[in-house]
């Protein structure tokens, strides 16, 4: 699969006026190993989504650079799962899943085979020809996952994928994600505001500061894989780690809130 290296990624936006640019990211450097599952947590507005968008190639960093070194140049480097699935409402479930494959110019038969496989893996067979509006939020995000897996990027990028879902659906989807990633062996970069989710889904948690976003700390998650998203939460070590990360982020979250109040 792929390793990711980022060096001194910095991002500045033009602010409300030209003299007052907003710095979203400030010198972010990290290295993510092949097949590693990494979460990024931090207060809202800290630039974690911006970081992900840079990795996805949707934005160019102002300074610094990153590299995704691929094993297989024929595979796309990244596949992204968006907040609230980001499905195309005018396409059916199966058409959404094969969207990226069509752009890559895969043969029709190959597209169909991949689509069938991922529909089955995400328990979506019955909804293949439904439109997204006909699905619940959880179902929509299953389609989002199926689309990303079918596209088969070497790195999976996920931006708050389960943020809008209810707690039960969320747990079930987290379990599905864990099982699937275990099979595909993909590298995963997950942005989330849920500390529990970060601990459940990753090998390593990167913590970011309030804006401008910097990496302030990281934590190697001591739980091995395969693991179970549901029973994991009952372990005492789990809550201790949640408390630890929470303590580390607390000052940052307060600061972000202050900044918001000040801005308002």
């Amino acid at each position: 699969m792929a390793t990711i290296t980022a060096e001194q990624l910095t991002m500045t936006y033009a602010g409300r006026n030209a003299h007052d640019p907003i710095m979203a990211l400030d010198g972010i450097s990290f290295r993510i190993a092949e097949g590693e599952l990494v979460s990024i947590v931090g207060p809202s507005g800290c630039g974690k989504t911006t970081l992900l968008r840079i990795l996805a190639g949707l934005e160019q960093p102002t300074r610094g650079h990153y590299q995704i070194s691929q094993r297989d140049p024929n595979r796309p480097p990244v596949a992204m799962v968006f907040q609230q699935a980001g499905l195309f409402p005018w396409l059916t479930v199966i058409q959404n899943i094969t969207y990226g494959l069509r752009l890559r110019g895969l043969a029709k038969a190959e597209q169909a085979a991949l689509a069938q496989h991922w529909l089955a893996a995400m328990s979506l067979e019955r909804f293949a020809h439904s439109y997204p509006v006909q699905l619940s939020g959880g179902m929509q995000q299953r389609v989002g996952l199926a689309r990303a897996f079918a596209y088969n990027g070497e790195v999976l990028l996920m931006d708050e994928p389960f943020g809008a879902l209810d707690a039960q659906t969320r747990l079930l989807l987290q379990q599905t994600l864990l099982e699937t990633v275990a099979q595909t062996g993909q590298t995963l970069v997950l942005v989330t505001h849920s500390i529990e989710e970060a601990l459940t889904l990753s090998d390593r948690v990167l913590m970011m500061s309030a804006r401008p976003g910097r990496l302030i700390d990281e934590l190697a998650v001591p739980f091995g894989r395969p693991r179970d998203a549901i029973t994991l939460r009952t372990e005492p070590a789990f809550s201790a780690l949640v408390a630890h990360i929470w303590g580390r982020l607390r000052a940052e979250i307060e600061q972000a809130r202050q900044a918001e109040l000040y801005a308002a």
């Binding site: 949707l58 968006f82 005018w90 396409l91 969207y99 439109y131």
Partner: protein, 565 residues
């Protein structure tokens, strides 16, 4: 939805009725205000002579050409303006500046350039469609959720892919809206364009009628324009439904917006309209239409009398429904568990005696119309009317209520079948005829089958409360056989009249409903549970409607063939 559609019909029908009445009673000068019936006759004549169709066709051809010529480039440029800021900056000011000019004002200029022929007319249409569509399309592309573009880019979409896979499909709803707007625009314009320097087309047709001072022809032309507009809109709606299936799906998750509350008065009307069981009106409308069309086939037809008969009969039907509701309530046969449509009092929360009053009002109004018909068509109608009101009232009222002694089917058979058909026929022809009795039999059988389907469903409950229907008297097996007899009798009696040469062979298109009939008989033979039999009632009513409509259509075709030859 359905109810609103009926209500939508109500106000224009009332207006037409008032207009007709005002002319027929001499309040309006027929010369300046020809009554709707006369306009319809003119419309019909011009349609059948092919003249009107020719002019409509010419206008349609111009609209289509102008539309394609202006619309397609407009859509392409509009999308480009939407996704490309440079194109937008270049084109938008120009388009926005020209857009508000009334395009009909350009016609003289266009004529100077292109001459008086087809080209100038089509060009004027194309220009106006172009500017309307281009701005609307550009706006709808700009409104596409930018997230869709991001998602596409994350899957490696290039500029070209963004156009075809995101910008175009995402703005299709907006494009359709602008096409529909453009179509309305084109229709307005074509008439104006054809007023000036044209020798054919619907606009010319209207202008010519004005020059001849033939107001009925003018109005017929207007109706033709309206029909064209309606047809084009329907076509576009259908196209939209086909092309944008995702837009048409009602999402169960998002709560539908609450229906707009009308005024109190409208709500009251609506409530009573609903309580009158409007779905049952077809049972009155079909026999009246059948009787009328048979009379037309035999050589006499007055639209005015037909309309009156129709309204009068529906009023009597509504009255019967109300009175029936009231007495079912008083005698305690309906209760909260009553399936289906009876028990408006229970379900509608209406004081019982109000239902009785409503029924009386309907009876009185229906009778007044009946009296007018008597004055026109003779005393025969009086007798039919009196008997009809009596049967309607005593259907469930009084000590010898027909419905409670097992005579419901017989009463319904006679009065919702032959009696209405013959009455409607008599109103037109002012004479009785035995063949009409035979012609009406299938309708009688089917309407009795509806009632019987109701009684079949309620068989066990009716037994418990002691309501005597033919079904409870005959028992389950006998009642099933009765249903088969009624259904088979329908088709058999029609076949007999066709073979006898009384009804034209085209009426046999009603065999299209035979599969439904078979399905219903199969369900009846297999089921005894009220819930399983509920669909039989609904489907039998539908069968009555479909069979009746096909039968009427058959007669109509036969009549039209007669007119042609």
């Amino acid at each position: 939805m359905n109810r609103n559609r009926w209500l939508n019909l109500l106000s224009p029908l009332l207006l037409l009725l008032l207009w007709e009445l005002a002319v027929q009673l001499g309040w309006l000068n027929r010369l300046f205000y020809p009554p709707p019936s006369e306009v319809l006759v003119t419309l019909w004549k011009n349609l059948t002579s092919g003249q009107l169709l020719y002019h409509m066709g010419m206008s349609l051809m111009r609209i289509m050409s102008g539309f394609l010529l202006g619309g397609i480039p407009a859509i392409a440029l509009g999308i480009l303006m939407g996704i490309n800021p440079i194109v937008r900056a270049l084109a938008h000011p120009l388009a926005a500046a020209i857009y508000p000019i009334p395009k009909i004002a350009l016609l003289p200029l266009v004529i100077v350039v292109l001459g008086l022929g087809e080209a100038s007319k089509i060009a004027t249409l194309a220009i106006s469609v172009f500017f309307l569509v281009v701005l609307n399309v550009a706006a709808s592309v700009l409104q596409v959720d930018p997230r869709h573009f991001e998602v596409a880019r994350s899957f490696g979409a290039q500029q070209r892919d963004l156009f075809w896979t995101v910008a175009l499909p995402a703005s299709l709803p907006g494009i359709f809206t602008s096409i529909k707007l453009g179509m309305g625009f084109a229709l307005t314009l074509i008439v104006g364009v054809e007023f000036v320097g044209a020798n054919e087309g619907i606009g010319w047709f209207i202008w010519r009628a004005y020059e001849l001072y033939a107001i009925d022809r003018m109005l017929a032309g207007l109706i033709a324009v309206a029909l064209m507009g309606w047809a084009l809109t329907t076509l576009l709606d259908e196209l939209e439904r086909r092309m944008l299936p995702w837009q048409m799906i009602r999402t169960p998750r998002t709560p539908r917006t609450a229906p707009k509350k009308g005024t109190h008065f409208m709500q009251t009307i609506l409530k009573w309209y609903r309580l009158s069981r409007p779905w049952s009106y077809t049972a009155a409308i079909i026999p009246v239409t059948l009787g009328t069309i048979v009379a037309a086939y035999h050589g006499a037809f007055s639209l005015w009398l037909f309309a009156l008969t129709l309204v009068g009969t529906v009023l009597l039907q509504a009255g019967t429904n109300f009175v029936n509701d009231y007495y079912d309530y008083v005698k305690g046969t309906d209760n909260h568990e009553s399936l289906g449509t009876g028990g408006g009092i229970f379900q509608g929360g209406v004081p019982p005696h109000h239902t009785l009053i409503a029924g009386m009002i309907c009876f009185v109004a229906g009778s007044l119309i009946g009296l007018y018909l008597v004055s026109v068509a003779g005393p025969m109608i009086l007798w039919i009317g009196i008997v009809a009101v009596l049967v309607g009232f005593f259907y469930t009222a009084g000590p010898f209520a027909l419905a409670y002694v097992g005579l419901g089917e017989v009463a319904v058979f006679i009065f919702m079948g032959p009696m209405i058909v013959i009455g409607a026929y008599y109103v037109q022809m002012q004479q009785l005829s035995l063949p009409v009795l035979l012609i009406s039999l299938p309708i009688g059988f089917l309407v009795a089958a509806i009632l019987h389907a109701n009684n079949l469903r309620d068989l066990d409950n009716d037994r418990k409360v002691g309501k005597r229907t033919l079904a409870t008297i005959l028992g389950r097996t006998g009642a099933n056989i009765e249903y088969y007899v009624l259904i088979i009798g329908t088709y058999l009696s029609l076949l007999v009249v066709v073979v006898m040469g009384i009804a034209p062979w085209v009426t046999l298109i009603t065999v299209l409903t035979v599969p439904t009939a078979f399905r219903l008989m199969r369900i009846v033979s297999a089921e005894t549970e009220p819930h399983a039999l509920q669909p039989v009632l609904r489907q039998t009513a539908k069968l009555h409607m479909q069979f009746g409509m096909l039968l009427v259509m058959g007669w109509l075709i036969a009549w039209m063939l007669e007119q042609v030859s």
